[in-house]
Symmetry: C2
Subunit: 118 residues, 2 copies
């Protein structure tokens, strides 16, 4: 067998790829946006809906339910009428915010870059 000049494992990278660990919580359509808007404090269903005009009620509902199951957000029904429901980040959810901030800051640079290119 000939010598392989090229490494066949990415040994210079951190031992385990933990991307997946985080992407499970961050993945799924609209999830980053929901976390983003909740990072400013608790918000109600309808408020989140108007923060993201393009999301459908179904998707927002599905995403919030997922996130609740994963322990990223809490859901609190307020005793108003009609009843309103408040969502907030859990401690776990809050841990995702720094990663999201990094994503946003790259996003902003990309935006600037595109504006300059035009």
């Amino acid at each position: 067998m000939a010598l392989k000049l090229r490494k066949n494992k990415a040994e210079t990278l951190p031992p385990l790829c933990a991307v997946g660990e985080c992407m499970v919580l961050l993945g799924g359509a609209w999830t980053p946006n929901v976390i983003w808007y909740l990072s400013g404090g608790a918000r109600r269903f309808g408020e989140l809906k108007s923060d993201m005009p393009l999301i459908s009620a179904k998707m927002l509902s599905a995403r919030l339910k997922d996130m609740e199951e994963k322990g990223v957000v809490t859901r609190t029904v307020m005793p108003t009428s009609p009843p309103s429901v408040e969502y907030a980040l859990t401690e776990l959810g809050a841990e995702l915010v720094p990663a999201l901030k990094a994503i946003v800051s790259v996003g902003q640079r990309l935006k600037v870059r595109r504006a300059e290119a035009a």
Copy 2:
């Protein structure tokens, strides 16, 4: 019309939500992983495939094509036989790495946390 005690816009958050700008490039199944493995230097199709044992050839191929179209990676056919194809991050692709690092570091903390909980 009654006074609204609750802000109906998330005004305390940064003016524009740039998450989407970045998620377009980072979104899609396996994309973060591909960027991660390319962040250590150029790699061939088969190498990426074995870096990510669970990805199918079809998905890897599709994702790399997407990423090439979006200007995140370059594709170079090497004049070997059988021909091998080398992929590398572009400058734009490299800009995504810091965000990814933030994601990985959160991922690692989540992993540790789970290990402690068990």
